[in-house]
């Protein structure tokens, strides 16, 4: 349902729905970096609530821009605090976009990297999309000079961490649920990185949070909050969270292991209020 034509900011409003007194919107736009149409969702707090800041949310494998919007219940706290929440898709989309039948490669599995390998590189430029193109839209259309934090889940937790590590100037804080912190050492990451970047270990390290941190000559001081469920079925097999604790030059980090929680959005919804409160501390500064 297209409810408005392309406005002068280049965004087409696909839908808008009242939620907790604010508005949940969905936009499409022509993306230069993804070389096609892209869709993202934005929650705007009630007009009566002053905008306090922006949280950019990156979702995990198989997700699009809607999973967090419909399942995380974040609008309640965002409405209270005055937070804008921006949720992009997890990959380029479309019939003309390279794909794979597996759930962990291709559409829905962009891994937030800029691909260098055919046929993927034509559209799979997710790092640039998030940290340049979408960032420009956030700053020119939505944030009105307010600060920006980043968060995500699983593959999106990886995306949030590498965005904060590589495009630090945009963010005041980063948090993640069950993030893939060391993708070059786990099956999900090895499959995606070899496909999108080729068999070049230096290229992989440029998108691996643990490797980026290990290569730093100074402490990384951006505040980091990580929540990890102890009953997460992927905890041991997919480089979720634990390897980041072995990184020595990492300060200002809080890694929490939560009893009984798994890898699902039931985990995200249980702690999203605490993550938004965490970011609000730094958005206010």
């Amino acid at each position: 349902m297209l409810i408005s034509d392309v406005s002068n900011n280049g965004l087409s409003l696909l839908s808008e729905t009242r939620c907790f007194g604010g508005t949940q919107k969905r936009f499409s736009h022509q993306s230069d970096s993804l070389n096609g149409e892209a869709v993202f969702s934005v929650f705007l707090p009630p007009e009566s609530t002053p905008v306090f800041g922006v949280v950019l949310w990156l979702s995990g494998l198989t997700c699009n821009d809607q999973n967090f919007v419909t399942k995380a219940g974040a609008q309640r706290t965002a409405a209270e605090l005055g937070l804008i929440i921006v949720c992009p898709d997890t990959s380029p989309r479309g019939d003309e976009v390279a794909n794979d039948d597996a759930y962990d490669l291709g559409q829905g599995a962009g891994f937030y990297v800029d691909s260098t390998q055919a046929p993927w590189k034509t559209h799979y430029q997710m790092f640039t999309y998030i940290n340049v193109e979408l960032m420009d839209i956030i700053k020119s259309v939505f944030s009105k000079g307010k600060k920006i934090a980043i968060s995500g889940h699983s593959m999106g937790g990886h995306g949030a961490l590498i965005s904060a590590l590589k495009a630090t100037e945009h963010y005041v804080s980063v948090s993640a649920f069950s993030p893939i912190v060391n993708p070059s050492k786990c099956p999900w990451g090895q499959k995606a990185l070899s496909t999108y970047l080729g068999n070049n270990s230096a290229a992989w390290q440029a998108y691996d949070a643990c490797e980026l941190l290990n290569a730093m000559t100074e402490d990384f001081t951006l505040p980091i909050l990580i929540d990890q469920g102890k009953d997460d079925e992927f905890l041991d097999s997919q480089c979720l969270t634990t390897p980041i604790e072995a990184v020595s030059n990492l300060s200002n980090v809080d890694v929490r292991y939560q009893d009984g929680y798994d890898h699902s959005y039931y985990f995200v919804t249980s702690f999203i209020e605490e993550h938004l409160q965490f970011h609000a501390k730094y958005l206010a500064q």
Copy 2:
């Protein structure tokens, strides 16, 4: 994923997930009234929180037992208050169960009535399933003597109201979001009631909240809370909420029209805390 075999209460545990310190479970069981397997979901508050009462939730057209569980965000308040939330499916299911290609008839659209018409009557006995069979399970397995309230959305709001009107002894309060209050006068209801009950207006009236209320010789005193979005696309066309205000023998009712809200789960999630708090008042008495 069947994670436990049939226990001595006849329930098979399909899944369980930690959520807000409690547990979101999903069960299947052999249903006598539906003449086949039925699935329902149950949220149990944290073990450290004393159980305060039960809220039975009925969903709307196209839904199953999962829509409310994944989208409404009710577990947060339920965990705080100590509420058990039970979410059944909206119809019988299975290859052997009569169906229709339309979204508003057949599987996913049981309308909470006991069908009298072939081929539907073999399985479509949702009123008895909810108010007798599932009620017995709630009382014998989950509620441990605590009181029960009922709520629902759209077709499920209709189901909650007729359950409270016809099986009043089970419930302490009823609430609804955008309920179909007068199904014999609207297209959704006329299609479903004529199909499941035949062209017998007396049979329709027995499952129509407004007609049941009009036929009552005494005031219906069970507390009722109804929320209706003013921007609901079905408000005028599908007998949502407004006709119930014309019922004269209705006391103890609070009908609220909410500016800007539509028919979606974004509306439900925005006000579910208030509904659970409403029920908690009566569950405590």
